[in-house]
């Protein structure tokens, strides 16, 4: 989809352009949202809100920037806001409701195979910043320089955040997934960093 068609779709009134837009980016954004927030219902809301926010901000889209990266930037902002709201909801709820607020409804959990499920569970236990950088690196397959630009941080911060995020994830996923080897890369890197 080219920039002109993209802008036409976001201005509304062109059903064919809208269909092309959703076909081109809907699933990719939804999958990224699933990894970032951990359940279908919220990921659907975030995907929908991303497109609607894009419609409101279409004048800010610069034709020379990558369409998906621009949309993903909106998704990231919405996800951060979503997590802040979730924390407030937990804070406002009484102790008995706390579990319910943190845990999405069973029917809305991502239905994944063992490896994917372990990863989704592991990601949920990480901080928003760590989850973001892992999704950008391993799902969006962005390079370190692009991640730094996307998150508006320095390359050094991006590298360091990625290192610690991988280390945290390693502690969350079962060893039999064999994502990392004992005494492997991360252990060696730690020795050098000390």
């Amino acid at each position: 989809m080219d920039a002109e068609r993209f802008v036409a779709a976001l201005r509304g009134g062109d059903a064919e352009a809208a269909r092309e837009l959703v076909e081109a980016y809907g699933n990719r954004l939804f999958r990224s949202a699933c990894l970032l927030c951990g359940n279908y219902a919220d990921a659907e809301d975030l995907t929908q809100e991303t497109f609607l926010q894009a419609m409101r901000s279409v004048e800010r889209f610069r034709g020379d920037s990558n369409i998906y990266t621009w949309l993903h930037g909106i998704l990231l902002n919405l996800t951060r806001h979503h997590h802040r709201k979730r924390k407030w909801l937990v804070f406002g709820a009484d102790a008995g409701n706390e579990e319910r607020a943190e845990q999405p409804e069973a029917g809305h959990e991502m239905d994944l195979e063992a490896g994917g499920l372990a990863l989704a569970e592991g990601l949920k236990k990480l901080s928003q910043a760590h989850r973001e950088i892992l999704v950008l690196r391993y799902y969006e397959q962005m390079k370190i320089g692009d991640i730094a630009e996307h998150l508006r941080i320095s390359k050094g911060t991006a590298k360091s955040r990625l290192f610690y995020a991988v280390e945290k994830l390693r502690k969350q996923v079962p060893a039999e997934m064999n994502l990392f080897r004992d005494g492997g890369t991360e252990e060696k890197m730690k020795v050098v960093r000390r």
Partner: protein
Amino acid sequence: MSCKKVHELLPEWTEGSLAPEQRARIEEHAAACAGCSTLLKEARDAEVRMRGVFLQAADSVTLAPQFERKLVRELSTGVQPPSREAEQTGWFSFLRLALGAAVGLMLLGLLIWRLEPQPEGSGPKGNVTAQKAARATVAYVLADYEFREEGELVWDTIIYRTNVLDLRLWAKAEAKGTTSERRKKL
């Protein structure tokens, strides 16, 4: 090239974004260093495994066709219905407002209590080396919650508004005498 430099450049090496000469220097170093050679191989393997498991997790979910149709309909008509989160903002902002007001009033009470001159006899007798007095006149404090979206940015703010804080502080290192005498001077 040192082992430390190799470790620093590991993410760029695995993603293949290094300049050819830098890449050659790393590989030259790894050829002579068993530790770095293993590290590079493991880093590349881990990158492949991680990408595989992320793709496996993500690609097993798909947007429901009816949801896709709903999105297309909304985009083509330009209708922007409130999301599930937006529907919650009514009572949610009230909760924030109440909480914000409570915190604001507590802080104000604390401030006035701290600045109020202590009653005679309650403090140390004799010379006082420094004396602070204050008068605070506050007619109202309002806590306000503001939610605003500007393009890609979302503002989420609690604002305290007050009419005036008439605050006067005196700190006289040489002040002497009783509290009542100093009050007369004021």
